[in-house]
Symmetry: C2
Subunit: 244 residues, 2 copies
């Protein structure tokens, strides 16, 4: 049973007759989310509960691996998915001959040493407003515009842990994992960083690199326009020092 | 079945007739270890295997939640526990009204906001060569000298994640958890930071604060004297940026 269904069951306990839970993103099996935003319509009687009490009430009904961090009232027109102005994902790679047991199912285990400099050079060439068709799964670009604005693509290393921070106004299906998989192959020397612009131009999934496995990917934050339905970002962190 | 027993079973597959596995530390149930050092005597025939191949050979027999990161040859006199010159533990606290599901069983969930400044003030008063009897479990000080040198006790905060870095030449039973439990109570305003020296002086477990739960504690590194049986430290990280 997925997270959405578990949340909808909990909502029915607290707000009988509540509508469906609409998430900001649909994540594949194995992908984690720490900053997911969800909206739900509740019956008018539900508004009697103080908003600050809603997370604890829902968490009492949710399994331990799903937690509601915060609740806010939103205008009736607010939509968690369609109003999102941008998203940040993080992707974790454990780059060491031996996997870290504490990161099983949380990071991609890459044993070949990765060259940080070439991955960073490649990442910088992907920034901006571009057609990311070459990095997304096939069925996503049969129906939609495949131009997105990649605002941030950083690669950091702390010991064997390599962290990709990926921010865009929107993402195509499996686009994050295509970007990371290709950059990791750049770091292994399989592709030259300079070949990335031509991969973009080809607009063909077959020219780009591998798709990184799902379990290293985390939906980190969702951004909404200030003055829109829901101000600010969804990060559960008050002060993300690692970013500064 | 404990980690030691799993390791000894794997060793019997690779080195039939190998002796017992002696760890640098005995960790309670729920305590994690990323930098544990173990020594084992293997039959002379076992020395034919290149040392660098030993981790992968053992990992093939170990369950996924136990990993051997590195193997080195040591003098026959080397003892992982008795030759240890110091250890570093880390303790993780998730300080937020709602627990982070990704840190279940990895961090202590403290909902009351913690005052970083007072915890740091308290930590600085505990440094140095002192009798830590008040912070250790009873049965540890019935038999041993309870004086230890606390070399480092740092408190950092990144968003809701509070990390204690605790380094000493040795630790009494449950001493780390006693130090963290008491500092967390300082951070909650239950004790004044200035009261910690008198807690040390009392040499009585009943005067200090709570024992923090096991699941937030990680044995991070073990230090050995250079020129001793095993040089350097046991950290699996090549470059611990977070420390610098």
């Amino acid at each position: 049973m997925g997270v959405q269904q578990k949340l909808e069951e909990a909502l029915q306990h607290i707000f009988p007759g509540a509508g469906r839970a609409y998430g900001s993103s649909r994540t594949d099996t194995g992908v984690h989310a720490v900053g997911m935003v969800v909206h739900v319509d509740v019956p008018a009687v539900g508004l009697r509960m103080p908003v600050r009490k809603i997370p604890l009430a829902l968490n009492a009904w949710l399994p331990e691996d799903v937690r509601v961090v915060e609740a806010r009232r939103a205008p009736g027109s607010f939509h968690a998915r369609f109003d999102a102005a941008g998203k940040q994902y993080r992707y974790f790679v454990w780059n060491h001959p031996v996997m870290n047991p504490l990161l099983r199912n949380r990071a991609w285990h890459v044993t070949v040493p990765l060259e940080l400099r070439s991955m960073r050079a490649g990442a910088s060439l992907l920034l901006g407003r571009r057609d990311f068709r070459s990095f997304a799964a096939h069925h996503s670009y049969e129906v939609v515009d495949t131009v997105r604005t990649l605002k941030r693509l950083e690669v950091r290393k702390q010991g064997p842990l390599v962290t990709f921070t990926i921010e865009a106004d929107g993402f195509l299906y499996k686009m994050c994992r295509g970007l990371v998989g290709t950059l990791v192959q750049v770091g292994q020397g399989k592709f030259d960083a300079g070949s990335l612009p031509s991969m973009l131009e080809a607009r063909d999934r077959r020219v780009a690199g591998a798709t990184a496995p799902a379990q290293g990917l985390v939906l980190w934050k969702v951004f909404y326009k200030r003055g829109g339905g829901r101000p600010g970002s969804s990060s559960p962190e008050r002060d993300d020092v690692a970013d500064s």
